[in-house]
């Protein structure tokens, strides 16, 4: 592809902007595109910062009371926290057993020794910026930490699935004949198995053999190996359509190789299909990770993702604690909307016919 996309740089002539430079220039004029690019960049930066431990390092610390209120609702009643507190308070008065306790004479010595160790009583906060979960963990930090897994899974999974789908689709559509027959047969087998069942089958194999590694990596592999089918079909159809176009014939006439025709000439003309599919699949995969995590095939319990947060939120919603659901749901919605707007803008920017 690069062989074709590189633009000659004539000396002493007008600077020639390449495809991507032109696309960037067009994208910059698109307000919606730029805003969504900023949002996506923000999420990616957040994910990186959290990955390197700059922020949300201590997300698992239990800082607040159980189901701490969000700070903007600080005064609201928190029955769960109070019942927990009363339970602890009820433990306090113990029966004096010192006259029958054989260890009683040593208590004093132990108490003296214990007094030497500095103990700071952490006071659990009544409210946290965006509330707390059952164990009093900060929901905001959980969302940030959770983005790590979710965005990574969504983006990587969708990128790999789009790559597989586009590549196989290009092969089947361009070559036709036996290649097409074989890939169609493969595709039919894949799609004849119910989707969830297929995911679970892959997940079970992955867990049993451990061949894909654990946790996040195995989710990405599972999702991308099952998610390429729709993209494959669309790209195949586009390649069949474009394969007979005159500009491809013209490329053949000048001696362009099959690879160059497939990926240098046709691909830029069908890339919009891939891009739209990519954005749709990012959304789908973030949601699929939820399902996998919920079913226990996803991330391990010591990690957090938006999926596990949504799974937790189900029970919390019954007792009126909505903030974990809103936090995970809203960040997912914002990212996904921004991402699909961005791919739309990118598609327009890459089309030289649209100004």
């Amino acid at each position: 592809m690069s062989a074709v996309l590189t633009t000659p740089q004539p000396v002493a002539r007008q600077e020639s902007p390449g495809l991507w430079a032109l696309a960037w220039r067009r994208l910059r004029q698109d307000t919606v595109g730029m805003v969504s690019l900023a949002v996506v960049a923000f999420f990616l930066a957040m994910m990186l910062a959290s990955f390197t431990g700059l922020i949300a390092k201590d997300w698992s610390k239990e800082k607040g009371v159980s189901y701490a209120n969000p700070s903007f609702l600080a005064g609201a009643e928190n029955l769960e926290a109070r019942s927990m507190a009363t339970k602890e308070a009820a433990k306090a008065p113990a029966v004096d057993l010192s006259d029958i306790d054989p260890l009683a004479p040593r208590y004093r010595e132990w108490e003296e020794r214990a007094a030497k160790i500095a103990v700071t009583e952490t006071k659990r906060a009544e409210s946290l910026p965006f509330g707390g979960d059952k164990w009093g963990r900060d929901v905001l930090q959980k969302v940030i930490k959770g983005s790590e897994v979710s965005i990574f899974v969504g983006l990587c999974g969708a990128l790999i699935a789009t790559f597989i789908g586009t590549f196989l689709g290009a092969m089947a559509g361009y070559w036709g004949g036996k290649v097409n027959d074989f890939l169609e047969w493969f595709y039919n087998i894949f799609t004849s198995i119910p989707y969830i069942l297929l995911i679970l089958a892959f997940a079970a194999v992955a867990q049993a053999t451990g061949s894909f590694g654990k946790g996040v990596v195995s989710i990405i592999v599972i999702l991308s190996l099952t998610g390429w089918t729709g993209i494959y079909r669309l790209i195949r159809a586009e390649y069949i359509k474009h394969g007979n176009r005159e500009y491809v014939k013209a490329a053949q006439a000048i001696g362009a190789t099959n690879m160059s025709r497939m990926f240098g000439h046709i691909l830029p003309n069908v890339s919009h299909v891939s891009l739209v599919q990519l954005s749709a699949h990012v959304v789908g995969f973030i949601k699929a990770e939820v399902i996998l995590s919920f079913l226990g095939f996803g991330v391990p319990v010591d990690q957090v993702s938006w999926g596990t947060m949504l799974a937790e939120a189900q029970n919390e919603l019954v007792i009126g604690k909505w903030w974990q659901l809103v936090a995970a749901g809203a960040s997912m919605a914002i990212l996904v909307t921004a991402f699909s707007l961005l791919t739309d803008a990118l598609r327009d920017a890459l089309d030289p016919k649209l100004k």
Binding site: P10, E246, P268, N269, K353
Partner: protein
Amino acid sequence: MADNILQVENLDIRFRIDRKSEPFRAVKGISFNIPANTTVALVGESGSGKSVSAMAILGLLPENGIVAPESRIVYGGRDLLKAQLPEMQRIRGKDISVIFQEPMTSLNPVFTVGEQIAETLRLHMGLGLRQARARGVELLNEVGIPNPQLRINSYPHEMSGGQQQRVMIAMAIACEPKLLIADEPTTALDVTIQKQILDLIAKLQEQHRMSVLFITHDLGVVGDIADTVVVMQNGVIQEQGSVKAIFEHPQHPYTKALLACRPRLDRRPKRLPVIDDFIKGDGRLHLEERRRGTSSGDPIILEVKDLNKTFFLKEGLFGKRAIPAVKGVSFQLPKGKTLGLVGESGSGKTTVGLTLMRLHDATSGEVLFEGKDLLALTEREMMAYRRRIQIIFQNPYASLNPRMTVGQILVEPMKIHAIGKDERERVDMAFQLLQRVGLSPESFYKYPHEFSGGQRQRIAIARCLTMKPDVLICDESVSALDVSVQAQVLNLLQDLQDEYGLSYIFISHDLAVVKYMSDRVMVMSDGVIVEMADSDEIYRHPREEYTRKLLSSIPKGYELAPQPA
């Protein structure tokens, strides 16, 4: 002015392109009348505003069109530009109907032609199902479709292009309109079919006593059928008058140019006259004749022996049907000469071209290039020869990759064949070639969609020239262009042949163009070469009936050129 069926007064149309720039003025205050029971021809190049004017009459301008308030289109005492939608809908199809250029895209592919004709009849004439169908059969019969009882149940794809256009005409005259607008109705068709359609429109005009507004870019075709001619250029009417006046005493240089730029059968000037010769130049023509023809001593660069190509259609579950497209074609191409290949659509001429290039695999036969059989070479061996035989396709809108700049398009073949030392030298060569084919250096950075059809064809020619080919196959390379642009491209091809000594295989359905360009002409029909002779010979003494038919279908303009004996 009671006898005028339609009056266009001060028609002025602008198009809003975007918010920043001034609206583009497509039609600049034109006025003309369409008298009852006559044919008015509206002639001009692409972009002259002729189709836009016609769409304004029908109230079918796109959303961004602005019609100036002083414009008036008077029909039956009403101003159509101020008419409300329901009123326009009553008029459209009933009083004023239209035939478009592309019958393939104008007909709905999922309905039978009978259903589509019946729809018009039921909407406007209030006929019942059975009556509409009976009238549909009558109409198909009238427009000359054989077996109308049966064909009324056909789907559009089951008909040929000419038949589809006949169906469009049947739909247009179904409600006995007072005015028929024909927007380039024959441009997409072969010359022979074009002649039939023109005859049909003329016959129907007379029978139904209706008026016809005939829009075309080719002044030549209207000579036989029009009563009045209106010549438009850049949104302005340059000249209007009776067909006799326009053809015999054209006043405006533009009209003169349009008349002169179509290649004629009886003359072969060194260069075809183009519009600039008349408008900028002194108006003198380069009438020096060019000699064409071959002699037995010419060195042969390409020889084809008994070429066959059969396509296979799938039939049923496992069966396939053989469709022979090219049957036993043999010819020789002398070096530096042009071999014309003429025939109607479906005659197999394009298949010959593609097979020579190995863009199709031949079923059998030999293509000897400097004594080497190209069809027997492996893909790798073929690479060396690919460079030397190049092809220019028919449709310049489809043959350039829309995602590549002109610069990339030109540099790519040089890169593939390692022509030029480095990137810089290739770019330099690309700039030189752009200049050679008459394009500005800025074109290097532009995308194909920013060019007109003629300019794109120049880009396609430049792309072939990057590889310095010996043989150039021109597959209907000028058929999609306006006659005036066609003349420029033909001149360019001619100049290049003189300069580089190229050998051409010139494929076209238009015998006039082929005769002008070629030293030797092959006439092809149903995959077989029916006649082959030097071009002057074939024009003066056509042996085959089919060749005579092709010759007689070429539009002669008004004054009926001398008939070939």
